[in-house]
């Protein structure tokens, strides 16, 4: 039985490898060829994955300076600057982040904001720019009204833009000065508004995981609440268990998130179905909530769910 867990998005989406190769060759035309061929959600995700690379700032600034109308370059540059900032900040809760870390984090986000202001001014209908803007609004704590305005601008372009929705969802969590009421109301509405089999059930699933993590160490009691269980199953039926569910961009996150939820509510069969769908694929989040070594946590739960047969 293999215990291998592949967290790299390139394992799920081969286009990521092509984007990385083009970036490594400083071939922006090559990057555009790949991202322009993707659907809008895939494009935002590919730009985001590409932005995760190192030492891209000078190159991307050059691309933006030579063609300010290239909103893909502006979006990737902004996402890259946001990433640098977030690595300085770390993902810990605010009380574990030092003053200096926060100052540097905000500096990087402000650099991204300046890029995004001009990017949106030129190409207001590019959803990837608004995804980045929702992310930086949260980091800079620009307030709910401005973050909501940004989300509404994105929703006007694409009402089901998952990469922006998962960012906005974070802003609605109490840890980012939102509230459970806001979070659940919005994520349920977004799920119900989505087409059958669409990935927006992820938002309800993530909302429950955020609540579970917050209730920890009493999280078990929370997820075993019959109403919560029922809603988790409803969300799964609308997405990963729906006949219309497709392995489009974002599917790995869905299957991985529902796998964890089924583990949390001790539904071995449910979890097994998700792990079979995933094969060796996995995601850092939400499994990171169960331990620092996400691959080890995933492998252990997978062994539990699949029993001796495991992944063959």
């Amino acid at each position: 039985m293999s215990d291998r867990v592949l967290l790299d998005p390139a394992a799920a989406y081969p286009e990521v490898t092509r984007v990385r190769a083009a970036l490594a060759a400083r071939d922006w035309g090559g990057v555009r060829t790949v991202v322009d061929a993707a659907p809008p959600v895939g494009r935002s995700m590919l730009l985001r994955y590409g932005a995760d690379g190192d030492h891209l700032e000078d190159f991307l600034r050059y691309v933006v300076a030579t063609d300010p109308a290239d909103s893909a370059a502006a979006a990737m540059l902004a996402m890259h600057l946001i990433d640098i900032g977030w690595k300085v900040r770390t993902g810990y809760r605010a009380n574990h982040v030092s003053r200096e870390q926060f100052a540097s984090f905000h500096d990087w986000l402000r650099k991204a904001e300046v890029v995004l202001l001009d990017g949106v001014a030129r190409t207001p209908a590019d959803p990837a720019l608004w995804v980045a803007r929702i992310t930086s609004a949260r980091g800079l704590q620009l307030g709910l009204a401005e973050t909501r305005r940004r989300y509404q601008r994105l929703a006007a372009i694409d009402p089901h833009h998952l990469p922006g929705q998962t960012q906005y969802l974070q802003r609605l969590c109490p840890k980012w000065s939102g509230s459970w009421e806001l979070l659940f109301e919005w994520s349920r509405d977004a799920m119900k508004a989505a087409p059958p089999g669409g990935p927006q059930a992820l938002l309800v699933a993530e909302a429950h995981i955020e609540r579970w993590a917050d209730e920890s160490p009493d999280g078990r009691r929370y997820v075993r609440d019959p109403a919560v269980r029922a809603e988790i199953y409803e969300a799964a039926q609308r997405s990963v268990l729906h006949p219309e569910f497709r392995r489009d961009y974002g599917w790995v996150q869905l299957a991985s998130t529902f796998a964890m939820l089924f583990c949390l509510i001790d539904d071995r069969d449910g979890a097994a179905a998700m792990f079979r769908m995933l094969g060796e694929l996995g995601t850092e989040l939400p499994w990171g909530y169960l331990g620092d070594d996400a691959p080890a946590v995933i492998a252990a739960r997978r062994r539990w769910a699949l029993g001796n047969g495991g992944l063959r």
């Binding site: 300010p68 986000l109 402000r110 904001e113 300046v114 202001l117 001009d118 949106v120 001014a121 030129r122 207001p124 930086s136 800079l140 620009l142 307030g143 709910l144 009204a145 401005e146 909501r148 305005r149 940004r150 509404q152």
Partner: protein, 564 residues
């Protein structure tokens, strides 16, 4: 058709009108020419000059503005001649026996005046000099002497510094305009208190205000109108964030102009109002200007020009242009300039305006590329430190060159050489304002050996000192222990919330009734039917607007902590 002629050595602009004859005599002097220590001297001159007109039912008035002062009269020729000759005679020999009374009248007028929405902008942009002084009350009034008034008139109210416009068939016979001779005074060069732009300062009300210095002309004016259209669409119609969305284009000096944009919003939405407004500015700057917006704006402007021409309303503006040394422009020329403006011109104007932008925002806009405007001094003077009797870490430092108030990291310094006013109360309190707008307020009762500091300050600030009436004993602060003050500070929070509520509620009312009132004033000139009903409605609207403005002013005063 406007024709140029001359009367009594004063240039005259003449244009036929369909309505009653009216005429105006304007001088190139206003608030921007006043040093802060004599703030109010032009307005006082205007009041004294009009006093001899007495109480009549003539349609006359006078007005003092930032750059101009004018006297206006509507009626038959005899009355116009009598009025303007009378004003000139009064200017030559002001009724000084009225001085004290008129100062009181002006103070009463000031307390009922509605503050302009963008008033703090001028102070933060220019400081406490030239184009910043209009943001201040008429603080110089108590100090103005008869000799100073005469000197002010001799300098500014002269033939060479005047222009007359007549909306009628000819210059009325018998008009003498017997004014002293002098020179034409150009407008002062606008100072800047902003080391870096785009800049911002924190506003405490329910408003986001942005302004920018632009070149004068059709491009900037049309940019302002396009900006209003786009802001209205995005902030009000689409996002539902703002009720009032307005822009304004105001010429400054001979070649400049100030474009101002205002958007209101509920306190909880101000971050989004700011974000939406800056997005609109950035879009125009980036060249995303809809030619349909430009065309709509140009069409509306052309209609306004044609209407204004038909009722002689272009005349005063052209007369003021002449005073600035600009050519008189005929209607077709002006219309042609507007029609020539393209979407690319508007984008260019927006890009230039962005660079000089100043933003007043309740929410910090640093992430959008705006630098904080200076609200304190970089350095303190080196001198004798008087320790605060309330906070041992706070000091009043008095030196040969100036005075500093040091409160932890907050330093306010006024150097005597740059001190534009020293307000002085009999109990010893002093308020010094530097040319950059920084304020040092000295309460001698709150510092060790405070009266000694007052002596040193007075010795250095004599020329700009303005004595104030005595304060009530209760208004003179007494040192309080820190704990007691903390307890006393609690109700202030409540007042602040109430003040913000008042501002949010009152602004729309004031703007609405003010706008209706303004339209009615215009209709008084244009349409004389139903005069009685119009005046009743006008009085009502202006009454509501003034009452609301009074409330806003009271709320603003409570809220305005910065720089005071």
């Amino acid at each position: 058709m406007i024709t140029q002629t001359e009367a009594g050595g004063v240039p005259v602009l003449l244009a036929p009108t369909t309505g009653p004859t009216h005429a105006g005599l304007a001088f190139r002097v206003g608030f921007a020419d006043e040093p802060l220590a004599r703030r109010g001297i032009t307005h006082l001159t205007e009041h004294l000059a009009l006093h001899s007109m007495g109480v009549t039912d003539y349609h006359y008035n006078g007005a003092t503005g930032v750059e101009f002062t004018y006297f206006h009269m509507q009626g038959d020729e005899d009355k116009i001649v009598g009025f303007l000759n009378g004003v000139c005679a009064s200017l030559r020999d002001l009724p000084m026996r009225r001085l004290a009374v008129e100062k009181d009248v002006l103070q009463a007028e000031a307390s009922g005046r509605s503050p302009a929405v963008a008033e703090p902008m001028a102070l933060w942009r220019h400081g406490a000099r030239d184009y910043g002084t209009p943001a201040y009350p008429e603080w110089g009034l108590p100090a103005i002497t008869e000799d100073e008034l005469r000197a002010w008139v001799a300098r500014y109210f002269t033939r060479e510094n005047a222009v007359l416009w007549v909306a009628g068939d000819a210059v009325p016979a018998g008009l003498e305009l017997d004014l002293p001779s002098g020179v034409r005074h150009p407008t002062p060069a606008p100072s800047s208190a902003l080391p870096v732009t785009p800049a911002f300062f924190p506003g405490s009300s329910g408003l986001v205000v942005w302004d920018a210095m632009t070149p004068r002309g059709a491009k900037s004016a049309i940019f302002a109108d396009v900006l209003e259209r786009v802001m209205f669409r995005e902030l009000r119609q689409e996002a539902g964030l703002s009720y009032t969305v307005q822009t304004d284009y105001q010429p400054i000096g001979r070649d400049g102009a100030l474009v101002t944009a205002v958007a209101d919003g509920l306190p909880e939405n101000q971050g989004a109002v700011l974000g939406g407004m800056v997005d609109v500015l950035a879009a125009l700057r980036a060249g995303r200007v809809d030619p349909a917006d430009v065309a709509a704006v140009v069409t509306k402007r052309v209609e306004q020009f044609r209407h204004a021409e038909s009722v002689g309303a272009r005349l005063p503006g052209q007369a003021l242009n002449l005073l600035l040394g600009r050519p008189v422009e005929d209607i077709e020329q002006v219309i042609g300039q507007s029609r020539a403006v393209t979407a690319a011109d508007v984008a260019e104007a927006a890009a230039g305006a962005w660079q000089s932008g100043l933003l007043m925002s309740p929410v910090h806009p640093e992430h959008l590329g705006f630098a904080a405007a200076p609200s304190r001094s970089e350095t303190a003077v080196h001198g004798y430190a008087h320790t605060s009797l309330e906070e041992p870490g706070h000091h009043l430092i008095v030196a040969r060159g100036g005075v500093s108030l040091v409160q932890d990291e907050n330093v306010a310094t006024v150097r005597y050489a740059d001190c534009v006013i020293a307000r002085a109360w009999p109990d010893g309190a002093r308020q010094l304002v530097g040319a950059d707008g920084i304020v040092v307020r000295v309460e001698p009762t709150l510092f060790a050996d405070g009266q000694r500091a007052i002596g040193a300050i007075d010795a250095a600030t004599g020329p700009v000192r303005v004595f104030q009436p005595p304060r009530a004993a209760d208004d003179i602060p007494k040192p309080q222990p820190r704990a007691k003050r903390a307890a006393a500070a609690v109700p202030v929070g409540g007042n602040r919330a109430l003040s913000i509520f008042f501002l949010v509620v009152l602004w729309p009312a004031v703007l609405f009734f003010g706008a209706i009132g303004a339209l009615l004033v215009i209709s008084l000139f244009v349409d004389t039917e139903d005069l009685g009903a119009t005046i009743v409605a006008l009085v009502f609207c202006l009454g509501v607007a003034v009452a609301g403005a009074f409330g806003i002013r009271a709320s603003m005063r409570r809220l305005r902590a910065a720089r005071a």
